[in-house]
Each structure stands twice: as C-alpha cells, then as structure tokens.
C-alpha cells in the first residue's frame, strides 16, 4: 500500500499499472492493464473513477474478462449453464458439478452501460419489439440474438412465479427463439397464517413450511435435470460442498461489507463494492477465482482500515442505496457530491446471507430462494432495508428506480413510506437508465440536495 488509497481515472490507471508492474505485480492469466478493456469496447471505463489498488485492478479484470472465460470454458469442453432470473440459487448447485460453469445472462443489462451502447444489444432488442418500456435487462435478449457476447448456454434455467414480468416475458421470448428453458416455480412468499407451521429463512423472514417444501420440490426437479444434463451425480454430498464454497464467498462479502460500510473514512469506493457484491450471484463464472479476488480485496480493505486510510474525505454523508444502477457512473456521482455508501440492497441481499449448512442441502437452498426480497411483498423488503439502515448507521436513502421494471412502479412507495415512518430519515427516488450522461445535471442536483440536507 505504497500509494494512498484514492479514486483515479482510467488515464491515471495507465501510470498506476506501470508502477505496479515495476514493483513486481503478480497477476493471474486474466490480468493486464485496464486500458485494454476500454480499447476493446468497454468505453464507460473512461468515464469512471476507479479504486487505485492492485486488488481493485484484479477485481475489474476479473469482471471484464467473464465473456472470455466463458468462451474458454466452451473451447475446453465444459458445459455452460445460463441461470436466468436467478440471484444465487441454481449457480450454487451448478458449481458443485465438475466441468460445468454457470453464468447469469441477465447480467447483460450492464453491456449498454459498459460499452456505451456500442454493442447495440438494445437496438437489437428494439428490433425484436422489446423497447425501452422494458427494464434494461432487455439487453439480454439482444445479446442472445446477436451472439456477440457470451457463448450460447447449453442449458437455460429460469425461475418464474413471483418474479418480475420483464424477465419472465423476455425469457419466454428466448424460448420461442429456440433456446429451451427449464422453468422452475418460486411462489410469492406470504406470511404464515395463524397456526400454520412457519420456517425461518436466512435474512430474518419467515415462510410457511408448505412453501419451503414446494420450492424444495422444484429444486429437486432442477437437480434431477442437472444430473441428467451433466451426466454427474449431484447428491447431498456434492451439494454440501457447493454450499460450503458459496458460503465462503458470502462470508468474505459479509466482512467486506461490514468494513466497507462502517469504517471511517470509507475504505473502498461504492463502485468496487457494488462489483464485489455482484460476485455473490454467480461468482462471475469462476467460483474459486471469485474467492481469491475477494480475499485480495478484503486484505486491502483491512489494511486500509488498520491504517485509518480511505478513498473519501471523512464524514461523507452515509447513504443506503436501494436497487442496482444500470449506469455504474452514478455510484461515482454520489461520492462526487459528498456521499458514501453505507449499506445496500441491490435486489439480491439473500445471496449475501449464509446458506444453512445444518439442513438437507435442497431445503437450505429452498429457504434461500424464498428469502429473495423480490419474491415477497415490498413490506418485507422494506423491513429488511430498515434493519440494515440501522445496522450500518445510514443517514439517508436513495431508491434507484430501474426504468421500466415491473416492480419499481409501486415498491418504491412502500419502501420510502416505511423508512420515513420508522427511521425519520430522508429518502429520494431517482431513475437510472443505462447511460445517464444527459441526465447527470439533474441527478447530481437531486443527490446534492440529499447530501446537503444531511450536512446541515
């Protein structure tokens, strides 16, 4: 940690990378200067402020080489599983298999941002009748159609039921385009009725035992299909190992989030924290490496916290962020106006909760699937958000609406009302499209207003 931590531009990273190499930087095979990603299409990097650590370099390189990793997997004969609308359940099962890699096709929603729309996946989606009244995840449809990004998976799974209509509708289109889908049901999580057996879920929710049993039956069906597809057994022994590995990721993220969101000054920028959290969903197509990347990042953060160093001025206003942003630049923007992230609910908080290891594996995974904040009512999600706000000591909340998303029309009202009612802290709602450049002045003004309000 010869350089004090700070956020630097991609231009600055050119110099920084050279210095790190001169100092004997040891990189994995996917390593290299960040500049090359921008030159090969990820142009948004040129507009971002990035953490200057070697650990952050590795994180970005890991993230931005996923397509390459998937192609390499295909070349060496590994099977590829696409897990649509699945925030951290089926990938845990898939990574318990050998020579199988699972990825999250919905993740294509960041392509229009990262590539500043040069990829034309949104235009392709438009041409298929999926316009911008849909969530930006419509980029997934474009990516399947133009086949210029990830290799086509050998098998697709998709959870439906209590899921957003956008993804459900898009997945149906995928199937009609010739990509068979194994659909599995997740029911809307409801409160157990009086006298009805209730099961505790990770994250503090409860569900009726019958709902847990139902999801377990669905996961058994998926497990059977994965066994047949891969030609490998996927019994309790393998699943336990898979859960153990997933929990390793979740434990690392647990400590990283605690240090990242509570330490003063802020030890790691919001952007890198967001990318790190996303690894929980599908491990960026390489579970062992995702563990290594997180270990490096955590080591860096620990060192910074011990040294009392951070990337932002002390006493930045502590903001809790709800929903992931389609444009990564907005995470920079919050910090530019004097805020910092102190707690997040990026729609996959259940993928950060530890999976119970003292239960039959499929029951444990069923409980996790039902703990998905989007599966239940927004009241549940709001309660969890309130709890997390208290835990991290946030002073204000930003609800970042995803344009066109079927759940964003109404849930923001409940979350904002409950946060104001219970905690009495300010809440603003903003909407973040894949590229915010044209909206940046108004977004900046709204964020500034929130920050100024708390600084008084």
């Amino acid at each position: 940690m010869n350089h004090p931590p700070r956020r630097i531009s991609l231009e600055d990273w050119d110099q920084r990378y050279a210095e790190l190499v001169d100092a004997g930087l040891h990189e994995p095979a996917y390593g290299g200067p960040l500049r090359r990603h921008a030159e090969s299409g990820d142009r948004r990097l040129t507009r971002l402020q990035l953490d200057n650590s070697a650990a952050a370099l590795q994180l970005w390189n890991f993230l931005l080489t996923e397509e390459q990793r998937l192609r390499q997997a295909r070349e060496v004969g590994w099977q590829i599983l696409g897990t649509v609308k699945d925030l951290g359940t089926i990938p845990v099962m898939a990574y318990a298999l050998r020579r199988v890699v699972a990825f999250y096709p919905d993740g294509a929603w960041w392509l229009p941002c990262l590539m500043e729309d040069q990829t034309r996946v949104l235009q392709t989606a438009d041409s298929l009748g999926i316009d911008d009244s849909f969530c930006p995840v419509r980029a997934m449809l474009g990516a399947f159609a133009n086949q210029a990004h990830f290799p086509l998976p050998d098998l697709l799974t998709c959870s439906v039921g209590a899921t957003c209509d956008d993804v459900s509708a898009l997945a149906q289109r995928l199937e009609r385009m010739g990509h068979p889908i194994l659909w599995w049901e997740v029911p809307h999580r409801r409160q157990p009725e009086p006298g009805e057996p209730a099961i505790p879920l990770p994250g503090g929710f409860h569900a009726p035992a019958c709902q847990v049993a139902l999801v377990q039956a669905e996961l058994t069906r998926v497990r059977d299909a994965l066994q047949a597809w891969s030609g490998q057994p996927l019994g309790d022994r393998q699943l336990r190992a898979g859960i153990g590995a997933a929990n390793r990721v979740r434990k690392l993220l647990g400590e990283l989030r605690w240090l990242g969101y509570t330490s003063e000054p802020c030890p790691l920028p919001a952007l890198e924290m967001l990318v790190a959290e996303m690894l929980a969903i599908h491990f960026c197509s390489d579970q062992p490496e995702s563990i290594h990347v997180l270990e490096q990042l955590l080591a860096e953060v620990r060192a910074r916290v011990t040294a009392g160093l951070g990337v932002l001025p002390k006493h930045a206003v502590r903001v809790f962020w709800v929903n992931p942003v389609a444009d990564l630049r907005v995470m920079n923007l919050l910090e530019d106006v004097g805020g910092r992230i102190c707690g997040t609910e990026y729609l996959f908080c259940h993928a950060l909760d530890l999976i119970p290891e003292d239960l039959p594996p499929l029951e444990a995974l069923a409980r996790c699937a039902l703990a998905d904040p989007m599966v239940g009512p927004p009241q549940d999600r709001s309660q969890r958000i309130c709890r997390e706000i208290r835990r991290f000591g946030a002073q204000a909340v930003v609800i970042s609406r995803i344009p066109g998303a079927s759940h964003c029309g109404l849930e923001g009202l409940v979350i904002a009302d409950m946060v104001r009612d219970r905690l009495g802290i300010p809440v603003i709602e903003i909407e973040v499209p894949p590229i915010t450049d044209a909206l940046e002045p108004s977004l900046r003004t709204r964020l500034e207003a929130l920050i100024e309000l708390q600084k008084r």
């Binding site: 298929l128 459900s168 509708a169 659909w183 599995w184 066109g404 109404l410």
Partner: protein, 353 residues
C-alpha cells in the same frame, strides 16, 4: 351476504359462490382517467399517494387499488398472474383498509407441483371465506354450484353470436358473478337490429370478422366494440383476459361427481390459456384453433402500457398469426388517444384483405 371482490379469471367463481359469499367482479370507471375524487390516499388517510399516472404503474392495477380501497366488500381477492397486480395486492395489504387475499397462481403449469400449489391456494382461500362467515361446501354442494355455472356459461356461449360485442363482454363478466340467466341481456334486446348493425359494412357478405386478444377490458373500454362495429367489423372472438378465452372448460360430469374440487382446479388451472404461463404455448394453440374455427379476418391486440407480458408477445403474435394484427396500447391518457385509437381501428379494417 358477504361480498368478495375479485378480478382474476383464475379464481373460480364456483368456489366463492359455494361458500355462500357473493362474488363481485371488479368494476370501475375508466382506469386511465385521473380523477381527484378517485385519488388514493396514504396509510394516514391523507390524499396524495396517487398511483394512477405514476410512471411504470399499470393503469389497471392502479385503478383496482383505488377502487378496492374504497370498496364495501368483505375482502378483495387478487392473483399473482402479473407482477403489477402482485404489487398492487401488497400495496392494499400495506394500506390495511380491506382484507386482501393474494392467491398464488403458479406460472408453471406442467408439473404436479404447480397443480398442488393451485389446489393448496384454493384451500387457503376457503379458510379465508369461512373466517369471513362463509361455509365450507360439501362435495355435493360444490358440484351443484359447478353445474349451475357450467350451465350458465353454456347458455351464454350458445347465444354469443347473437350478442353485440359490448353486451357479450358485459355478460362474460356477469357470468363470473352469478349463474342466474336473468342477469344477462336478453337476446331479443341484443341481436344487432337494423339500427345497430355496422354502419359501414365493408363487405356485402357482412361485417369483417375480428378477434380481440390481450389484457383485461373494463366497462369503459367497451366503446372499442362500438367503434369496431361502426367501422364495419364485428368481434367474433373476445380473447381478452376477461373475455371468452379465460372461461374454464366444460366440467366433466363424472369428475365433478367424484372429486369436484379437483375437477374445478383442472378446469381452471389446467386449461385456461394465458400469457403469464410458462411456457405459454397453450395460448398460441388456443388462438390458432379459434381463429381458424371462427374464420377471423383480423386480430386486435389490446394491452395496457407497462404490461410487459402482453407487450413482449406483440412481435410473436404478428409472426404467428394467420391474419393481420393491430397492436393497440392503452396509455394513462386515453382522452387524448381515443380518437387515435378509433382512427387506427378504422384504418386497420380498411386495409384488411
């Protein structure tokens, strides 16, 4: 008698009626009209939490919330068949002004797990109805109610070709509330007379035969039928969400006698083709069969803005349909678009081969 407000064809009216409650189908004024008197209020009873017109909120879901919150019914029953309605139910539960039952209707339908969930939800609904003062029906009582409604639907479908579009649409709602035939418009009143026959017959052989598919049509949308008829068309298949498409199949007499609840579940959950189902090929099989059987000349898809489920199917319908398709989206401001809609309908009919 307790009244239960509901708005989903996947909730069997027989199940509600057999419990001795009065099923009332949701009705409202134009779901796209923003009227201060209809404004929702927040949990503290203060006006302001207006859902209608809020970006991203389905106008129908917002209208259901607004009117359900003011309804005098004992409870409202909504379903998970679309995400917007699922969130609308949560909003009503959060407001706590009317008991709201959100029935889990699985999207998958080809597995025993899905069927068992649907049955379990009917049982859970039964517990609510009993708690509200209803009576759990015996098999015999349920079977009798099923036969009544089956008969009512058969009678209605028997005269459907003789009803005006708006009268058939209204009767298709009524038959989701009561099996009493005197609740329907009489055929004598409804058969298109010389006065109300299409004003602009484009063909000497009679009006153009059209089908309509898509999301729900509320009463305020029935003007569409009038415009179509005035433009020289006639809806011979109302396959919108609250139309003929979502009626259950005819009950098997033997299954009804043996296990009426199971037969009820099979007739509704097992056979109603809808856009939310995964996979949804049953919908296309239904359309293919019915468009052909009814010699349809053109298909109108009517959907609400922000309805992803129908919107995503527009391109597929256009590609699969054997006849031309007109895509009509209904926004929040119908007042400004109604003439546009009418013009598009007229142009569509003019260009039909």
């Amino acid at each position: 008698m307790n009244t239960i407000l509901y708005a989903s064809p996947l909730v069997p009216v027989e199940w509600l009626a057999a419990h001795g409650v009065r099923p009332i189908w949701w009705r409202a004024c134009d779901p796209r009209r923003i009227d201060a008197a209809d404004c929702d209020v927040d949990r503290r009873g203060e006006p302001g939490s207006l859902l209608r017109g809020r970006r991203g909120v389905c106008p129908l879901a917002a209208a259901v919330v607004d009117s359900a919150a003011r309804a005098s019914a004992s409870a409202v029953v909504l379903t998970t068949t679309c995400d917007q309605m699922r969130y609308a139910a949560s909003w009503l539960q959060y407001q706590r002004r009317l008991p709201t039952f959100l029935m889990n209707v699985p999207s998958t339908w080809e597995t025993e797990t899905a069927r068992s969930l649907y049955l379990a939800e009917l049982e859970r609904l039964s517990r609510l109805l009993v708690a509200l003062g209803g009576t759990r029906p015996s098999n015999e009582a349920l079977a009798e109610v099923m036969r009544d409604f089956d008969g009512a639907r058969a009678r209605l479908l028997g005269i459907r070709d003789r009803l005006l579009g708006r009268d058939l649409a209204a009767a298709l709602i009524t038959v989701r509330e009561t099996a009493a035939p005197n609740e329907w418009p009489s055929v004598a009143d409804s058969v298109p007379s010389s006065d109300c026959r299409p004003h602009h017959d484009l063909r000497q052989g009679g009006p153009l035969r059209l089908a309509m598919v898509g999301g729900p049509l509320s009463e305020s949308d029935y003007g569409l039928f009038d415009w179509i008829e005035q433009a020289g068309g006639r809806i011979v298949l109302d396959a919108t969400e609250w139309g003929e498409r979502t009626l259950p199949r005819v009950f098997s007499a033997e299954s009804t006698r043996r296990d009426p609840l199971s037969e009820l579940a099979d007739a509704y959950f097992g056979t109603i083709p809808d856009v939310f189902r995964r996979p949804n090929h049953m919908l296309y099989e239904y359309l293919s069969r019915e468009l052909s059987a009814r010699h349809v000349h053109g298909l109108i898809l009517r959907r609400y803005l922000w309805c992803d489920l129908w919107h995503a199917e527009v391109a597929v319908l256009k590609a699969c349909s054997p006849v031309p398709v007109l895509d009509l989206d209904a926004s929040d401001s119908e007042a400004s678009s109604s003439e546009r809609t009418r013009g598009r309908i007229e142009a569509f009919l003019e260009m039909l081969p």
